[in-house]
């Protein structure tokens, strides 16, 4: 099936086949990453602008790296150096980027819906690198890619997402991808951060860590985002850790082969014990590496490339 999508705004709107196509293409790119010359000429002569209006380390570096591995030229702008600090509107900034003949724009923004807004304004592809509490589609793609590497097909697999779900775009993108892929997803955390309204997305909600973790094959931890919590959603970080932090005892409730994931940045000793973050079940750094391959696939496809054939997963 040919790829025809120009923008990547949400995983909610992608079909299962499109997700599998991105994964298959990422698998092919991942193979190139172990060569001595890691660059491929796929996007030579194209310019990609990373417009990061909200701080980011991993995602921005991974997008940079992915674009460079594809031989694209990359320009990165962040919030503090862009004209938005002088009062320029997002529309004007984006139209200037397009007028400067960028071929693609990758946007990170604190306001949900901003990438969708840009995709309506611009003629060039818009890639969502995280919009507020809405979606972070490449994170959802790289997380499910990593899960598949460890578990094979995700149908029926028990996945727990633990932490601050309410304010998490990572959670939303993962939920959409995992539900399409047939995984059994349970969201866990304090009731103020994991409201019942999420069940409408096709997942379960639980506040009982022991039951939820029992036999889970994946536990994905999310950072407690102090900066997004206008008011107190839980008493203290200490209480959070005592109720929901992942420690050795709690990790023992998981399926013996379970993997521990985290999109970063991690707060050691808050949502996860330092030891577990570095332990052999942790795939946190694999996620980061896979983030390059997945983003190479996304940039390549949205720039007009065609996907690898999807192989049936075991």
């Amino acid at each position: 099936m040919p790829w025809h999508r120009k923008h990547l705004i949400t995983l909610e709107e992608l079909s299962l086949i499109e997700i599998e196509q991105i994964h298959a293409t990422a698998t092919a790119f991942k193979r190139t990453m172990t060569r001595s010359v890691k660059k491929v000429p796929a996007l030579r002569g194209k310019t990609i602008v990373n417009l990061f209006l909200e701080p980011s380390t991993r995602t921005r570096m991974a997008f940079d790296m992915a674009a460079k591995r594809l031989s694209a030229d990359v320009i990165s702008l962040d919030g503090s150096s862009s004209s938005t600090t002088k009062g320029e509107t997002l529309r004007d900034t984006a139209e200037n980027v397009q007028a400067l003949q960028a071929d693609m724009i990758v946007i990170r923004h604190s306001a949900a819906g901003s990438p969708r807004y840009l995709s309506r304004i611009l003629d060039i592809p818009v890639i969502n690198a995280g919009d507020g509490a809405h979606e972070h589609p490449t994170q959802g793609l790289l997380d499910t890619f990593t899960m598949k590497e460890h578990l094979g097909a995700l149908r029926g697999r028990k996945v727990v997402i633990l932490g601050d779900i309410l304010f998490s775009r990572v959670a939303r993108s993962n939920i959409h991808a995992l539900v399409k892929m047939g995984a059994a997803v349970t969201l866990v955390g304090p009731s103020t951060l994991v409201p019942e309204s999420f069940t409408a997305l096709g997942v379960s909600v639980s506040h009982d860590l022991k039951t939820a973790l029992a036999d889970a094959e994946v536990v994905m931890l999310l950072r407690i985002q102090h900066e997004r919590q206008a008011s107190s959603h839980f008493p203290s970080l200490g209480e959070y850790t005592s109720m929901f932090g992942l420690n050795k005892t709690r990790a023992s409730w998981l399926n013996p082969k379970a993997i521990i994931m985290h999109p970063g940045p991690i707060n050691r000793g808050v949502e996860i014990d330092s030891e577990l973050a570095d332990g052999d079940r942790s795939v946190i750094l694999e996620q980061v590496t896979n983030g390059i391959a997945v983003r190479m696939a996304v940039l390549y496809l949205c720039a007009g490339g065609q996907p690898e054939n999807v192989m049936p997963t075991a």
Binding site: T89, S114, Y117, A133, H134
Partner: protein
């Protein structure tokens, strides 16, 4: 001014329980019982065959942005929107720059009305100085300067103590208090209804409870002080229930609903279109149905637009950063007829009642009637005419309407204020 002879209209005058085909006569700017044969010869005839003639519509909740925000709207352009929408009396909110919290600002507004308005534009004043919720505004002076109510508009007074004193003080002048019911502590950064859709879109939710709390607070304070509190743009089903119970006890509470809360739900927000962003936000289908039921049984008293112009460049932003509010005056009648009459089988007279006599009654305005001797404020409209609404071609300085580009049913043909035709066949004719 020539006499007017409006012929063969379907005359709908809810205050008089009148709904019959006939002629309407206007002499010296007032409704007359008849014209002599000689007067008929000199009168300007208006053929209203197939049209409804009703009292000029009354909207007790509009924002005309003058003084201070005249890039969005002026009293003149706002009044043109009103005329085009069939409205002959509108009540404008005090959230101008500066806020209308002194008699001087009220005088400024009244001067602008005198100079440029083609319909009756009545001011409200602030409850507190600068709408800051800290010190009572000079309510007595505001009353003397001509305000018809006091309100802090979108900056709902949060202090219960201050609201209590405002109630007691305003009651002395028999001045209604209009309140936008919102607990600010529960709606920090909120941009849409809290629920399944906000969860999906990752936008911060504004829960019904934040409205319900203040509605209940206002019911309590109204009953405690005896003051009349008018609850603006009710959006929550629970609030409708609170109001219904309060009214059954005889509380001096009145309430309004907007056409957009009657017609739309938060499901419309899927594309982050800022023309669906307003405060209070669009809510769920259950809330929408409760508002319609509230209008049906009289729990909610009237329909008001909350006409809130913002320029393209202000609305053309990230959803979080765009200002709240949409235009309403030019589409109100068609949208309200659609929801209430066509979809929910309200009688035409009842819909007109909710847009004329009822809002006038709430604020004690001499409007919303075709009684002999009343000011000849009249709206003529074609109830089944289909037309395409183009916000770009509208009369506002702004274009922020969710109905832009849509075909609506029910079109205003002529608007008459005090016996003068101010709007006719798509044009504002009196300036």
């Amino acid at each position: 001014m020539p006499a007017l002879w409006i012929r063969h209209a379907r005359i709908v005058d809810p205050a008089a329980k009148r709904d019959a085909v006939g002629d309407l006569f206007v002499v010296d700017g007032k409704i007359a019982p008849s014209l002599s044969a000689a007067a008929k010869k000199r009168a300007r005839p208006l053929d209203a065959r197939g049209l409804v003639a009703c009292p000029g519509l009354v909207d007790i909740h509009v924002h005309f942005r003058e003084p201070g925000q005249t890039h969005k709207e002026t009293i003149a352009t706002g009044s043109h929107c009103a005329a085009a929408g069939g409205f002959t009396t509108v009540v404008c909110m005090p959230n101008t720059s500066p806020p209308a919290d002194t008699a001087g600002t009220i005088q400024f507004i009244e001067d602008a009305v005198e100079r440029g308005a083609v319909v009756r534009v009545l001011p409200t004043g602030c409850i507190t100085v600068g709408m800051k919720g800290q010190t009572l505004a000079p309510i007595g002076s505001l009353k003397r300067a001509g305000v018809v109510a006091i309100t802090d508009d979108g900056d709902c007074v949060q202090s219960n103590e201050l609201m209590r004193r405002a109630c007691e003080y305003a009651k002395m002048f028999d001045l209604p208090i209009m309140d936008h019911c919102q607990d600010a502590s529960m709606t920090q950064g909120a941009v849409m209804n809290e629920g399944a859709v906000s969860t999906r879109l990752g936008l911060r939710g504004w829960p019904n409870a934040a409205e319900d709390l203040i509605v209940a607070r206002n019911v309590i304070l109204s009953e405690y002080t005896g003051a009349h509190i008018h609850l603006q743009h009710i959006s929550s089903a629970f609030s409708v229930d609170v109001i219904r119970r309060a009214k059954s006890r005889g509380a001096r509470i009145t309430a309004e609903a907007t056409p957009h809360h009657l017609a739309l739900t938060d499901a419309a927000l899927g594309t982050y279109d800022t023309n669906f962003k307003m405060n209070p936000p669009l809510r769920t289908e259950a809330d929408r149905r409760a508002l319609i039921a509230g209008l049906r049984d009289g729990t909610l008293d009237c329909v008001s637009t909350d006409h809130a112009p913002h320029t393209d460049y202000e609305k053309d932003k990230e959803f979080d950063y765009a200002p709240n509010g949409i235009l309403g005056l030019e589409t109100s009648l068609a949208v309200t007829l659609d929801v209430l009459m066509r979809q929910n089988k309200f009688k035409l007279t009842r819909v007109i009642d909710l847009m004329t006599h009822q809002p006038a009654r709430i604020l004690g305005l001499p409007a919303g009637t075709l009684a002999t001797g009343a000011a000849a404020d009249i709206c003529l409209f074609a109830p089944e005419e289909r037309w395409r609404y183009e916000a770009n071609a509208g009369f506002s300085k702004s274009r922020n309407s969710p109905w832009h580009g849509q075909t609506l049913t029910g079109r205003v043909k002529t608007t008459i204020v005090g016996g003068r035709v101010v709007f006719h066949d798509g044009r504002v004719v009196a300036r």
